[in-house]
Symmetry: D2
Subunit: 299 residues, 4 copies
């Protein structure tokens, strides 16, 4: 339970709805900034503006998954308000106030350092990355079905990378009856792929294996599906790039060769905002409980 | 190989493209009727009209998956021609000419009987129904992802029926990490569901189990998801009805209660026309080879 | 609940223990014949002899899984008593008394017909055969591990038959990471194997595929692994025959060629008597409840 | 290929057979020490004694999986010879000679350091540990089937640890239809277990979950299944401890409580020596190829 915690939520998207629901269930005192156009009310949640006096009570500030832009602007799909996170504002919050964001950028990192507040980027946690891999995988499946005229079942699917996302992608496509190949660079990953009942290959052979692929799904944030790989692919191949922008695909060359290739960022928030919101809410809860334990007191 | 067989393809949709490709690969002599707007040519395929003299050579006539309408009209997405299958036309084909369709209706059945030609409805074959269940499942997955804001993974998915489609649906959702429950009426199905590692329940308890569902997928062609079942569902439930029209859901009542419910017919042709076409082509090949063997001769 | 039912259990093995436990849990009035050497007592269970007066109260008689031999002798591993089921004894039971056995033979069938008592062979029910396939599969796995010096994982395992046992065998070996091939004769089975993500083949090609097998598991009660199949196998192949005696393997030829081949009957009772007993108990319960419903009364 | 490499194999067990077979296939020049009672000959393999002059040519020395004892004695199941690895012997080998063992001990480590020879303990490699987890799992399955009277299917199986062995154990028991729970201490492991479709729990709740277990399998080399955990278990629970000796179970207390508990070391060599030998051979090959590449030359 989060009884006694003053938690502010500053802007965001559909994922915030589930966070609000959960935090409110756990009895946090909620302050919503930038939710003026939200249709349904949450009993007990307090709608305020950036310059409200309540700011001084904040124990926790939850930013959107994307954090701020490099000028400190905060986006909300539920408001037209202008919200800016700057030094003055941050310092109005209670001392020891914790700032939670999905991802951090230079601006945020510097700002919170200056103001001596803790900044926790949720998406860089291992557990969050794994939980998020699940809605990412479902987004990937949807996109593959939409963009091919053959079934995933019985297709040859090449997954690049056996990281937190790659392992989940590989397992899900196996569950759908695809012939899954996983490209890795570490012997231990090679072994794990085999144990999973899939076909491992070393990435230095990628252009060779590309000759026999129907679907290639990239999770490696490095330029890996380059021209010499694309050149070898059958013309019906579909490339789906999940790696963070700019992805790992030479999209220009793919287009030239007539190979369909798409980059698909931020799938969790798109295909399953409720699940994605719940993942974040659970993580916030765990972080605050750990914090509470450390401080040896309940609020 | 189908060397020497004169095969006519009368209208259809994207699935016919793959059939043409395959039959041509197997060396059949192909006659295409209603493909005048087809973009890419198939070497060796013969474009003709319904009244062409070649009709007299036809050993096999392949109708669209939907067959004809009740007046004998044949649809083609590749042509604006008017094509009608009537007694006169049928009797111009070679004696012993075989007619293949996806599904048969009263008109077709009567017509072919009168003309003493064999009519084979491909989709009513057990094997074809099972092969087709695979693209059907992938269509179902796509629709579920598109129509929910939570992941399939960890959701409670209730599949109704353990027939040819139901078993495939159940397995695929299991492969994606859902908690799958399967509603059946036969003890042997109950046992099989359990052996598969899923949760069986008897359909006479459907309204009870409906209280704990996130996604309900129906494969039973009978009015099974009725008002008293829908009444019990959580409001976020998504109902996907795969059974042939009119489905097994009380859609009017679902709408009234604000439960999202969709019927999704003909998924294979929509989400994976190439696979669906290949399934039909392989079946045609097998039927003609059996025919050949029975007649004790090659064409 | 079975309150009011007089149920007699006549001999048997470890499976009977679990049946006694369950039936007693369901409040049946239990009469045990041939359990004099049973170590632990069951409160409320009544130990009697074949000639006890109680026989006249019996509503249900449960025979061992193997039934009787062709002279009516009943086996019990918990007794040295001589127990014989004959016409006189059967007719002492209450009119309408139901006899349950695992399997029936000529003697039993005739005897019960003469005495106008219902005989229900439990193992011939579809659901029981499927439930029993699960311990059968685990017995098969144990035997394969014991009899090979390589792992099931990554091995090529050929399963013959996609019946009630075959489907379970195929799925379990797939779950352990084997490359599973399933031999069938029906196109619908061929399609199902493929949908399951396994490799189907037609049994008329068995000698051909035998060249590439590591483990062959037979579930077909017909002479299918004959000399011409065995001749093609690699010398390290292990044949496990699950079909009822005499199995489907030419054991003599296998031995001659030095190929290890074993027949493994009655695995459920051997590897998982508790589970096997529970399966039977559940089925007995269901049968008696159906009976009760039909008769429109509770005992 | 290993053409030109002089490889000596010193003692060992059934796993060495497969290594010899493989290395000889790859054209290494093989010297066998301690295989005098080996039944079948390997063409081209050279049987010698410890004091043979050939020792000076050795590029590679392969010790048994267990290495030596703390006095340098080498075991062989194929010989009664006394074989001792000492400084004098080691220094007779070619300069730069590589020593491969399964596991290292103090004696070996010190000896090879003194003699300035590279010692590579194969089993401590991540990839080898994962490959070996597969036969380990199959051994565990065999032992569970042998030591319970119920099926793995539908049982509640608690796996402790999600390391290299734990993940494989969890997946295999899932594949057999068990309800698998995995005990972990890291949030990322918790998330991965959930993504795999299994039930995670934190190990600090182990005594609580122990109330609902049928089978508990330990992979954690720490005293984790202690008295307070065992106290809570149902009496039919079977504990299988896979962790290296002395395991993580309080065996004394388990026995006192009548809970069956077994420790099962070295399963790969016992249940699948051929696979285990092949894993080692493949790793040796990879190490020697890497070595070759580094030295920039072929032998
Ligand atoms: N599209 C979406 O909706 C979505 C959602 C979640 C995540 N993502 C993105 O997906 C990507 C993967 O995320 P993750 O959590 O799986 O990361 P991760 O756990 O770090 O995995 C990355 C994988 O890439 C491999 N890799 C990295 N650099 C490589 C290189 N130069 N050559 C070969 N392999 C290389 C790593 O292999 P080693 O272990 O050998 O280093 C690892 O297997 C990230 O870019 C992330 O932002 C996208
Ligand atoms: N949407 C699509 O794209 C698509 C694609 C393919 C098929 N379909 C449709 O999906 C449906 C199922 O096809 P299928 O091939 O799976 O058929 P199927 O093999 O005949 O299976 C039908 C299932 O429904 C059960 N059932 C039938 N009537 C019932 C009743 N009154 N009460 C309870 N259970 C009942 C059957 O159980 P028993 O075994 O106990 O009779 C069986 O399990 C059909 O309507 C078919 O046209 C749709
Ligand atoms: N060892 C044990 O502990 C144990 C336990 C349980 C059962 N069993 C035995 O295992 C066997 C299989 O049992 P089940 O319940 O799976 O039976 P089932 O459901 O009848 O399956 C038998 C399979 O064999 C196929 N088949 C039968 N005759 C054939 C033939 N001449 N050629 C090709 N295929 C043929 C059937 O194919 P079609 O569908 O095409 O006819 C079917 O797939 C039985 O003998 C049973 O007694 C043994
Ligand atoms: N019986 C056999 O035939 C056989 C075969 C192979 C291996 N083994 C043995 O099996 C054991 C596991 O091998 P492995 O390769 O899986 O090792 P591993 O990859 O290191 O995994 C060990 C696991 O134990 C956990 N762990 C370690 N200490 C812990 C503690 N104090 N409390 C809670 N968790 C703890 C680790 O969790 P963290 O990640 O949180 O540290 C990790 O998940 C070893 O003892 C190995 O020798 C036996």
């Amino acid at each position: 339970m989060l009884t006694g915690w003053n938690v502010a939520i500053l802007g965001g998207d559909a994922r915030q709805i589930e966070m609000i629901r959960k935090l409110s269930e756990w009895d946090a005192t909620l302050h919503l900034v930038g939710f003026d156009q939200l249709d349904y009310g949450f009993t007990g949640a307090n709608h305020i503006d950036m310059d409200d006096d309540e700011v001084e009570k904040f124990d926790v500030v939850i930013l959107p998954v994307a954090g701020t832009d490099e000028s400190g602007n905060i986006d909300s799909i539920f408001s037209n308000q202008n919200m800016v996170l700057d030094e003055k504002w941050v310092e109005r919050t209670k001392e020891g106030c914790i700032f939670l964001t999905g991802i951090a950028n230079g601006y945020l990192t510097k700002l919170l350092e200056t103001s001596d507040r803790l900044l926790i980027p949720l998406l860089s946690r291992d557990d969050v990355a794994i939980y998020n891999s699940v809605p990412t995988v479902e987004g990937a499946i949807m996109m593959v079905i939409q963009n091919t005229d053959f079934t995933i079942h019985s297709s040859r699917v090449h997954v690049l990378g056996l990281g937190r996302v790659g392992m989940s992608v590989a397992r899900a496509f196996q569950g759908l009856g695809a012939k899954v190949f996983v490209g890795v660079r570490k012997p231990a990953h090679y072994a794990r792929v085999q144990e999973m009942g899939l076909e491992p290959f070393y990435l230095n052979r990628l252009d060779e294996v590309a000759e026999n692929t129907d679907i290639m799904i990239n999770t490696i944030p490095a330029p890996i599906i380059n021209a010499s790989v694309i050149r070898k692919m059958p013309s019906h191949t579909f490339i789906l790039d999940l790696a963070s922008k700019p992805g790992g695909t030479d999209f220009r060359y793919a287009e030239k060769r007539g190979i369909k290739a798409l980059i698909a960022p931020s799938l969790p928030g798109i295909v399953a905002p409720k699940t994605a919101g719940r993942i974040l809410a659970n993580t916030v809860l765990q972080i605050l409980k750990d914090q509470q334990r450390k401080e040896g007191k309940t609020k």
